[in-house]
């Protein structure tokens, strides 16, 4: 079917729904979902191995960035990519602080036009904070320590990025 504006409406084949049974023997009911969530929770040790690898990678990228302050673009992109992955994984394994820190680091890098020394210090600060979160196994929101870390980070961030 096509209208006067050249828009054709097509009924898509229902290949997916033909494969799915409502209430079948493998139905994903609330109990099945709970079991699936428990499987992910059981991967926490794997996550800690993965994130340790990511921390080594992001530190390496940051070292490269420090060594190439005059041409930082490619190295900022590298730090951004690793932080973006860390952001995406943290919350899946109940490390919400890692998601928050990864997200904020990405947003900060996006805001950089010409990288300054204080900008670099902020990046280092975020990476060091992520290391603390993992080394101290600060899962969830990190409780009181988590709040202190975020507010301390915020204070230093404001100091470093103050434009006067």
């Amino acid at each position: 079917m096509s209208d006067d504006n050249g828009v054709r409406v097509i009924k898509a084949p229902d290949t997916l729904s033909r494969k799915v049974i409502k209430g079948g023997p493998g139905a994903v009911d609330p109990a099945a979902l709970e079991r699936a969530e428990a499987v992910i929770a059981g991967m926490a040790d794997s996550y800690l191995d993965w994130v340790e690898e990511d921390l080594v990678k992001i530190q390496g990228a940051c070292d490269e960035l420090k060594a190439n302050k005059d041409k930082p673009k490619a190295f900022l992109d590298k730090v951004f990519g690793i932080a973006h992955d860390m952001k995406g994984q943290g919350g899946s394994f109940n490390y919400d602080l890692m998601t928050i820190l990864g997200n904020d680091l990405c947003r900060f890098i996006e805001s950089i036009d010409d990288m300054t020394d204080p900008d670099l210090e902020v990046i280092v600060l975020y990476i060091d904070t992520m290391k603390i979160v993992i080394s101290q196994r600060m899962s969830g929101d990190g409780g009181e320590e988590g709040r202190k870390i975020l507010s301390g980070l915020d204070l230093v961030f404001k100091k470093l990025t103050r434009k006067d």
Binding site: K11, G23, A36, I40, D96
Partner: protein
């Protein structure tokens, strides 16, 4: 959440990060899916699709090599595409509206925001299932009807921020 049995569904995961691929595969298997294939980027996905008759693809947006957007664009628009109607869920850490519009405009069916969980992935699969869409073909677009996705996306979660958490906890942003 509806009690769907998705055991026989064949799913393609397209993700360049090994850890994410492992996570998504583990969730799918925990939800009962028996047939899962993986591709490390968009180019590999297009190759896999020539021999793997997927019922659903879960594609990451930001990948080294051929990224998610370009992969979806090619699945939808290339004449020799093996499955132009393939239901596609795009996984993304980006939730800005402008980026969502970009993904919508290449023909994704739905979005899944990182970090993901079994619950969030299953809810997106159900959403795709329950919204078997009419496809639209114009000179510049081939894909699901974009109006529903845009309306839905506008109501979805926004990115988490340090200040939002502090606010939620009653602290100082």
């Amino acid at each position: 959440m509806s009690d769907f049995d998705i055991v026989t569904t064949k799913v393609l995961i397209v993700e360049d990060n090994l850890h994410f691929r492992t996570l998504i595969r583990t969730i799918l298997q925990a939800l009962g899916v028996e047939t899962v294939e993986e591709a490390r980027d968009g180019a590999e996905a297009l190759d896999v699709l020539t021999s793997f008759d997927a019922d659903l693809a879960i594609i990451d947006w930001k990948m080294d090599g051929l990224d998610g957007l370009e992969c979806v664009r090619r699945i939808r628009s290339e004449e020799d595409s093996s499955n132009r109607y393939l239901p596609i869920i795009m996984v993304t850490g980006y939730t800005e509206d402008s980026l969502a519009r970009e993904a919508r405009d290449v023909g994704v069916n739905d979005f899944l925001s990182k970090p993901i969980s079994a619950r969030s992935l299953m809810s997106r699969i159900i959403s795709v299932l329950e919204n078997e869409q009419e496809f639209i073909e114009t000179e510049s677009y081939f894909g699901p009807d974009r109006r529903r996705l845009q309306a839905k996306y506008n109501g979805d979660e926004r990115r988490v921020s340090k200040s939002a958490l502090a606010e939620k906890e009653g602290g100082v942003a």
